[in-house]
Symmetry: C2
């Protein structure tokens, strides 16, 4: 196996990983070049710049880069979908600098309907790391648009979306609850306020967390919630709502141990919320995107060049 | 009874009504001068301008004008609260032009906690129009922050808030769902899409509407929802969620006929949604704010001057 460049290219950021011939991540680079805030020169310039000095190896990209608003649309693969279905449906673009970029398709679940882009690659990685995940175990990918996924024998069979991260951002940035927020973001993490939010979501029962959202303002007006702690309280309300809704919808049974896939700090919040719902501590898988990109590339037969890598652009 | 000026002064608009000596509304004026977008000169200038040419009679104001961010804070009256409690706690401000402005306090419900400003005046008006509203009938005031109110013998005994209108605005203006929206607002009301949204909220059951929010995007991507109809679908989802949550929380029993208080077009949406939940058609009370202002003024002993009104500022 030769070297590979993997791109995790979403709406708000771009992460590039250079894999060595064993699939180890040799170097990682981050830029704020999400597909909605590209540098001058667009996709081409962003790619050239972030890969500067890296070898002339294949590039595999996952995420919103393959959406209708991305570099090139990679049509959704329908559920049930596994690594082979994804690898067979890569869309290839030739960049001006000579690199070939292969884009992983997203996955569409006809029921709902529901769609994902980027999470399918993390799921491939997670199922590669832990192939023995028990059948039916819910896989949870927290984020802007959290995904709750069912899998069966390594295939994504169904999923749904909660706009948790996006709602959190909207409420903190644009809503009346924002009036409560101090100008500077609080440095101290508000564990207690987060917990209060989770418990309020749990207590909302079948009526749901939208019946409690306004309490982020009224508790503050009442002097029971510090203005600086409003974001943590909101975070608790909305993450708590995911656990509440998951139990109510049957995405998760009490006693089942779900698997969290994603960023450590965010997954830690989901674990704390699960504890407040008296749920068993979820398992956690990190760096699933890198592992997924490598696995899809291998199945697709990319990165087969065995000659030593040569940098495309020499520094200076 | 003498003449009276009533102000319905909220976050985003100002409405002034000149009442004749019988409580009839002689003239109404609207301006976009909510307390967050005042004209140069602030509250004083807004008041002088909107009352230009009107008699030197008492002014009674309700709404966010009495909040901490308003002209002068009128501290909340706790539940249970009736017209006498409100009339006894008016806060009076002397304007530079010589007018005296009496501000109606908001109401606070310790359980929750929850607060309202402006709705208490509409409730006084509604209970004045229909004093025989059955005990326990839920009173619903749709809006930016919808209120679901319980009353007992003409008193506001408890209430809760759903941020329905504000969430709708945030999602249409700032969220990823906005990407779907055409530049021009659709002229044709999307009854069918609204209904689809209501039914999706109902079908969400105990899991709640946040499990369905993303469908506003995926149905559009799937070609099942016209981009121009996304706002109506969202409106249906969120108004449907109010009925769903109200039933789940026990604010409303099936078979009970709630009373809607507010704007006709918005109340019509709530009535259509109720029908899709197989609920009886709600009653509807309009112009409750005007009636409430008049009633509070009467109980407070304002507008007692029996001499003919004299304009404060003559035209020209």
């Amino acid at each position: 196996m030769g070297w590979l460049i993997g791109l995790d290219w979403g709406s708000s950021s771009l992460r590039a990983m250079l894999f060595d011939s064993e699939g180890g991540v040799h170097e990682t680079r981050h830029r704020a070049w999400g597909i909605r805030q590209l540098p001058q020169g667009g996709f081409e310039a962003a790619l050239s710049s972030i890969c500067a000095g890296w070898p002339a190896c294949p590039v595999l990209a996952a995420g919103m880069v393959g959406s209708r608003q991305g570099w090139h649309e990679a049509p959704y693969v329908d559920t049930p979908a596994d690594v082979h279905a994804l690898a067979a449906r890569l869309v290839t673009v030739a960049a001006a600098d000579g690199r070939r970029i292969h884009i992983v398709p997203g996955v569409r679940d006809g029921a709902g309907p529901n769609v994902m882009r980027g999470e399918e690659t993390q799921l491939v990685g997670a199922l590669d790391v832990q192939p023995r995940i028990a059948e039916g175990t819910p896989l949870v990918l927290p984020g802007t648009h959290s995904k709750w996924v069912q899998s069966h024998r390594g295939r994504i069979t169904g999923f749904t979306t909660m706009m948790t991260g996006e709602l959190y951002g909207l409420l903190c940035k644009h809503s009346i609850l924002r009036a409560s927020l101090p100008d500077t973001s609080a440095a101290a993490p508000g564990h207690e306020s987060f917990n209060d939010g989770v418990l309020a979501a749990r207590a909302s029962g079948a009526s749901g967390v939208l019946t409690r959202l306004f309490s982020a303002r009224t508790l503050m007006l009442d002097g029971k919630l510090d203005a600086a702690a409003v974001p943590d309280y909101l975070s608790g309300l909305l993450i708590g709502e995911e656990w509440r809704a998951a139990l109510a919808a049957g995405w998760l049974d009490r006693g089942e141990i779900p698997v969290l896939i994603g960023d450590e700090a965010l997954c830690l919040r989901y674990r704390r919320a699960a504890a407040l719902f008296d749920l068993p501590d979820p398992a956690w898988i990190a760096d699933a995107a890198a592992r997924g990109l490598w696995r899809i590339a291998r199945v697709a037969g990319l990165a087969v060049d065995r000659t030593p890598p040569v940098p495309m652009e020499l520094p200076g």
